[in-house]
């Protein structure tokens, strides 16, 4: 298990290095004069050159690459081209907000969708299964910004139950924060419900047809015992893998929802940075989101390895 973990971690680091390199290449492929972009068309060429000099964008490409690698190792990506302030504090604050939102969305969706998926699998082809599948397909095909708008209009404006802006006031407690985040999180959760529930349903149906479930049933176990002892651990492996990938995606910020609820998360921050060619901010954002992806999939893989001894024991050979 330790060996599995180390190998997996090493692989993650290599991936992270590749990611940083790709971001670096893309940033340098852009034929933009960065100083000009920042200072605007009316600044004198002299000022632009001086800024480029200060930002280091005139340095040889290898020097710039070495600098970006150093940034990667120290996780310090310098100052924002736009505000001049260090990027990391801004970025981490935005990431924290996105993480809060994503965590609430996942908390809402994972238990419900897994329970619904497994239940549907057990009631396969009966009305309750059909209803769950239909709701899942529908909910995941409605984009989150549509659900979000609907929620704002009905729950926020119409009923006035929840605030229509998601940024909680400073110093808000847990309950208040949840109250502010509930609508955007629900909009995101609705999309993922269908996705995860269908995954859980498909995995469970497959395992229910397996020979070892037949063995367990023939032992005389009740259906609930069979599900608990022999089905879940095997049937939820693909679901866990999917959730692992989705966590990275959610933490990266869902721009539509953030816009509608005017929430200062990663999505808005990255969009802003991209529009203004704020390369340090973009690079840092890509790397940090990358790290979240790595960690989330690593945790998912570890859970899968715990669930499935084949992964755990064969990998170590």
């Amino acid at each position: 298990m330790a060996r599995f973990f180390v190998r997996r971690l090493a692989l993650s680091l290599v991936t992270l290095w590749l990611l940083a390199t790709i971001v670096f290449v893309i940033a340098n492929v852009l034929p933009t004069d960065i100083g000009r972009t920042i200072l605007g068309p009316f600044a004198s060429q002299q000022t632009v050159d001086a800024l480029n000099e200060r930002l280091g964008t005139n340095d040889p490409i290898l020097v710039q690459y070495a600098r970006s690698m150093r940034n990667l190792v120290t996780l310090d990506f310098g100052d924002s081209f736009q505000s001049g302030a260090p990027v990391m504090p801004t970025l981490l604050a935005a990431m924290g907000r996105s993480a809060q939102l994503a965590a609430l969305a996942l908390l809402l969706t994972i238990p419900i969708s897994i329970v619904a998926g497994v239940y549907a699998a057990r009631r396969r082809d009966r009305p309750s299964d059909r209803a769950i599948v239909l709701f899942g397909v529908t909910s995941s095909s409605i984009p989150e910004f549509v659900t979000a708008t609907f929620l704002v209009v009905v729950v926020g404006v119409g009923l006035g139950w929840l605030p229509v802006l998601a940024n909680p006031p400073p110093g808000a407690g847990l309950i208040t924060t949840v109250k502010y985040l509930l609508m955007p999180a629900t909009a995101m959760a609705v999309v993922y419900f269908g996705y995860i529930a269908r995954m859980a349903r498909a995995g469970t149906i497959e395992v229910l047809q397996s020979d070892y479930v037949r063995t367990a049933t023939m032992k005389g176990l009740s259906t609930n015992q069979v599900i608990r002892r022999h089905v879940l651990r095997n049937s939820l492996v693909p679901t866990v893998a999917v959730i692992g990938v989705q966590i990275g995606y959610l933490f990266g910020g869902i721009i539509g929802v953030e816009k509608i609820f005017n929430y200062n998360g990663m999505g808005q921050l990255m969009l802003f940075a991209a529009q203004r060619k704020d390369i340090p901010m973009l690079t840092a954002g890509a790397v940090v989101i990358g790290i979240v992806y790595m960690v989330a999939t690593l945790i998912a893989d570890l859970i899968i390895a715990w669930m499935n001894p084949r992964v755990r024991l064969d990998e170590g050979r």
Partner: protein, 703 residues
């Protein structure tokens, strides 16, 4: 244990049958319409008796078995009749009662033991559960579970307890499944193809185990197997099923020796029995196909395929006729069974003195896995002549498939190996070989389903092979496709269908036609019939031998079915741990004296003709090729082990008599003496303890 059969225990009216199926009808609901699968099946099994159901795929034997434990597919409905276990009707039970019934009274063992165990749970937990469900405490259950593993001859139960299923071999997995099945001391034990997919040697040990346990438990055994040899070796009585009905029933030996229903006759004649060879006669086939599930049946279910059918059969339902003690048949014309015509004589002696088409010398193949060298083939020398069939036998892991892949160029052999095709050196891998060499060596796979492109019509599949391999175009290519189809008895209608629309036998014909597209010199047939029913197998074997007689193609036949090998092969090579242990004319090898490994293989196979006299049980499993035993690689399992020689030096492969090579320290005459003696005395030979000690001394773990 002896090789004789227990007297048939025909349940009389006085005893309560352990399982009694009465006029059982069952249907599958397909799109709302019930399709009858079982149409009035009745039979009973006494406590301690073993009853076998035989018949081809689709006849309803598995459905019957699953119905007997109330484990039906979601769309299965019992539409009539009763299933009584110890007097209680399980068709009327509620779900709680069914659960109690499964926990306490019935158990099941299936094909593919690997799939029957939960992959993510330790063996111990799974076996213990079979006891806790009976209401035992955890401690008690654990004690019993360990004892159960011991009872199924698992040497180190505590170690196995902590393993996961994928860390055990197939034979061990099946023992674990059997241990769980016996936990409740059930009245009914259903075995569904319990040894299919296992090696012959493992199969023999599992069958031994079931026999022993049967005597101990007094459970009624219902056995489903397509292998009639397995049925004969285990069952007291058999029922022959056809189209959802039992058409003949009786004592196993009697039914197999003196069948009284035309279908049983056809089934038995389609098997290569009593050492029959292709040169002697073609195998019987059963024309036509099983009636479609759900169709209305004629008065006699078999009438459409029966050579004896007449007006009476079409108009009057045949009665059940007693033809012996406890032996009955549903045939009007059982007295004319002898009139069923024998199949044609064979294709005549195939010349084995043809020119040498393939010569392997010093062929080795070493795989490298995470720093270890794993020799899969070690210095193999073999030749194959024009029009000759070379049978390749050995347990899984013996290197048969690697050898085939090496010849085909799928795996490149180690340097120093030489493969000559018509005296020309072949490039190691197919990529480097010219088209001529590629078209000359072709393969027929075990499973035609996955070997043919499902999206293409048969005509497209064959057309592409013809164009790729022969370079023919347009009309010439089309003519060649028609010729191939004709040779394989495929009609024009078949050519326009896709593989999914064909039966297994027809698909395999297409796969054979494809291999023959470019007039190959050699065809590798890797288990060509093991996925097919016996009557279909017979047709495929006939086609293969006819094609060979015409085209003088050399066959390399890989099969675990020694009956098939004996029927088709002119010469046989026996492999063990990547080495050729024995090679010789088919008859010489089958008659013996032979290599102790071959001797063990031959005696392991349950035959429909009855058990071989001497029973040799190979202990343990085939050692890892990464760490082969010293000296003779077989010494760790050899029942004729000689300490001081066998574990020290590896014997060379030498010619012991004309056309017969062997790799053994024991001289031929000594082997002849020992083996004749063994046959006369009917003894069970197992690995002598010295061999196991020698194996342990050199660090190889015996089973």
């Amino acid at each position: 244990m002896t090789a004789t059969f227990p007297a048939p225990q025909v349940p009389s009216a006085g005893t309560t049958a352990a399982l009694k199926v009465e006029d059982l009808s069952l249907a599958y609901i397909v799109r709302g319409i019930p399709r009858p699968v079982l149409r009035g099946v009745s039979f009973e099994i006494a406590p301690g008796e073993a009853y076998g159901l035989v018949g081809e795929s689709g006849c309803g034997k598995s459905t019957t078995a699953y119905a007997a434990v109330r484990y039906l597919p979601r769309n299965g409905r019992i539409t009539g009749g009763r299933i009584l276990i110890d007097g209680a009707d399980i068709t009327k039970m509620g779900s709680d009662e069914v659960r109690q019934f499964r926990a306490k009274h019935a158990s099941m063992v299936y094909q593919d033991p690997g799939g029957a165990l939960n992959p993510s749970t330790r063996i111990g937990t799974q076996v213990i559960e079979a006891y806790t469900v009976l209401g035992q405490s955890q401690d008690e259950a654990q004690k019993n579970a360990l004892a159960a593993l011991d009872r199924v001859n698992i040497a180190d139960p505590i170690r196995v307890f902590n393993r996961y299923p994928h860390q055990l071999s197939g034979g061990m997995q099946q023992r674990v499944v059997i241990a769980m099945a016996l936990a409740s001391d059930p009245q009914l034990l259903v075995l569904d193809e319990p040894t299919t997919g296992l090696d012959a040697t493992v199969e023999a040990s599992v069958l031994d185990l079931v026999r022993t346990l049967r005597n101990e438990t007094n459970a009624a055994v219902l056995l489903i197997a397509h292998n009639l040899g397995v049925i004969r070796s285990l069952c007291d009585r058999v029922g022959v099923m056809y189209a959802g009905k039992i058409v003949e029933e009786g004592n196993a030996v009697e039914v197999f020796e003196r069948p009284q229903f035309p279908y049983t006759v056809g089934l038995l004649r389609s098997l290569p029995r009593h050492g029959v060879r292709k040169s002697q006669r073609a195998l019987a086939t059963i024309p036509g196909t099983l009636p479609q599930i759900g169709t209305d049946l004629p008065t006699c279910v078999y009438v459409d395929r029966c050579p004896l059918a007449d007006e009476l059969c079409r108009t009057v339902v045949p009665p059940v006729v007693d033809v012996g003690v406890g032996h009955w048949t549903r045939c009007h014309h059982y007295d004319r069974i002898g009139d069923i015509p024998e199949p044609d004589s064979g294709v005549g002696q195939v010349a084995t003195e043809g020119a040498e088409v393939l010569a392997l010398s010093n062929v080795s193949k070493t795989f490298h896995q995470s720093g270890h060298s794993v020799p899969a083939l070690v210095k193999v020398d073999l030749t194959l002549n024009d029009g000759e069939t070379l049978g390749l036998v050995g347990e899984s892991g013996s290197g048969k498939s690697t050898l085939a892949k090496t010849i085909l160029g799928i795996e490149g052999p180690d340097t120093g190996s030489s493969i000559l095709l018509d005296r020309d050196e072949l490039e190691p891998t197919a990529a480097g070989r010219p088209v001529k060499a590629k078209r000359s060596i072709q393969i027929v796979f075990q499973n035609p389903d996955s070997a043919l492109n499902r999206g293409w019509s048969v005509r497209q599949i064959l057309g592409r092979s013809v164009r790729k391999l022969t370079g023919l175009k347009g009309k010439a290519a089309d003519d060649r496709v028609d010729k191939l189809a004709h040779d394989l008895r495929l009609t024009q209608r078949h050519l326009d269908l896709k593989p999914g629309q064909l039966s297994g036998g027809l698909k395999q014909r297409v796969a054979i036609a494809r291999a023959f597209a470019g007039d190959p010199r050699i065809v590798v047939a890797d288990e060509p019939t093991s996925a097919l029913d016996v009557s279909v197998q017979a047709a495929i074997l006939n086609v293969l031998s006819e094609l060979q007689a015409e085209s003088k193609t050399g066959y390399l036949l890989i099969s675990h079915d020694l009956g098939v090998v004996r029927y088709l092969a002119d010469r046989i090579a026996v492999m063990y741990l990547g080495r050729i242990m024995e090679v010789g004319d088919s008859e010489t090898v089958f008659r013996g004296p032979n290599h102790p490994y071959t001797e063990a293989l031959l005696s392991a196979v349950p035959s429909v003709d009855g058990e071989p006299a001497a029973r040799i049980r190979l202990e343990g499993e085939i050692p890892s090729p990464a760490n082969p035993p010293s000296g003779c690689v077989f010494h760790t399992r050899c029942h004729r082990f000689m300490q001081g020689i066998c574990e020290v030096t590896e014997p060379p492969l030498i010619e012991v008599e004309p056309g017969h090579q062997m790799k053994c320290h024991i001289p031929l005459e000594e082997l002849r003496r020992l083996q004749t003696k063994a046959k006369v005395e009917d003894i069970v030979l197992t690995t002598p303890p010295e061999a196991l000690e020698a194996a342990v001394a050199e660090g190889i773990e015996p089973g």
